[in-house]
Amino acid sequence: MKKVTIILVEVLFAVGVAYSQQVRIAPFIEKTVAGNQYGTQLLFQTKNKWNFGGFYQTSLQHSSEGIQSANPFFGIAVSAPLVKSEKINFQFNTRCGIVNQLFVVVVPGLETELKVSKTISLSTLMSIRMSYPSALLKFNITI
């Protein structure tokens, strides 16, 4: 399983680099029914405004030993444009990955991206996680 995951990620990375017009890094915060999660996405954007890449997110829990991460969720993210304009894009987004290194999870959602400048944009993403709505706020930086 590990080998397959590594090969998949490498293939996606190679295809991403080959087809991408832009590379983006996007820190985000997601509010789920189980609490807040914090993470980052590395995305490749094609000419047609498709985005694909990888993500990692985790909860932060306070304990006697300090702040610890919990329920890590990592995998691949793909978003397809539904409506495009100069300032605002609407996208269908899917995250597919593994939670707590055991549980395969697919998270569909709808994303609105608001462009602030050439290199910076903000996104909101409404998804379904653990069968409840979740809200994600993302800060996209084009490298």
Binding site: A34, S85, K87, L122, L136
Partner: protein
């Protein structure tokens, strides 16, 4: 060429409202919703409503459940009365319910609501008595799995363990929701409130 859109003021306003809502949501620490659901198995049916698709995301399934007067029934025949109704649990790694799964089950028997651990291990059904619960009050349930066993906990009672037989580790673990029966469908509407704890 990129399609140019003339975005109306209404669309812009909607977006602003959505942005403000999400900013408020993201900046607060409290859960956005109280994850309590009412499951109803209608008379003559086995499956409960709403029907949900959700997968487990940790090695422990934790929830509180409340039964009410609708949990009482009398089928007369002992064999039917002792059929186990399913409360909640999960399918083990990439398995179907009748292959590898772990659930709490319940039955109205001897004028009390009895709770059982109910598992399928490599297609073989296993049951163990866990305890008795009161109706009209929330009771605490936990099912945890380790590499080789399921651990069932009910309120403060001693844990009950059962053998686990799943062949894989990474995969889909879909949750299983209330189901009436056994062989006989619900004699009347049966209501169970379940509060998931994440």
């Amino acid at each position: 060429m990129e399609r140019q859109l003339n975005i109306s003021n209404a669309l812009m306003s909607t977006n602003i409202v959505m942005w403000v809502a999400i900013l408020v949501l993201a900046s607060s620490c409290e859960p956005a919703v109280e994850p309590t659901r009412r499951f109803i198995t209608y008379k003559g049916d086995h499956y409960s409503w709403p029907k949900l698709l959700e997968s487990l995301q940790s090695q422990k399934l934790v929830f509180d459940a409340r039964f009410n007067e609708t949990a009482k029934y009398d089928f007369g025949a002992l064999a039917v009365q002792s059929d186990k109704n399913k409360l909640m649990g999960f399918c083990d790694c990439n398995s179907l319910p009748h292959e590898n799964s772990a659930r709490f089950a319940w039955q109205w028997f001897n004028n009390q609501l009895e709770i059982y651990a109910y598992c399928y291990v490599k297609g073989e059904r296993q049951e163990k008595y866990v305890g008795v619960v009161d109706i009209n009050t929330y009771n605490h349930f936990e099912v945890e799995f380790t590499s080789d066993q399921y651990i069932f906990r009910l309120n403060a009672q001693p844990a009950v363990t059962m053998k686990r037989g799943s062949a894989c580790s990474v995969g889909s673990y879909s949750k299983l929701w209330p189901y009436f029966g056994g062989h006989v469908a619900a004699p009347h509407d049966v209501i169970i409130d379940i509060r998931s704890i994440y």
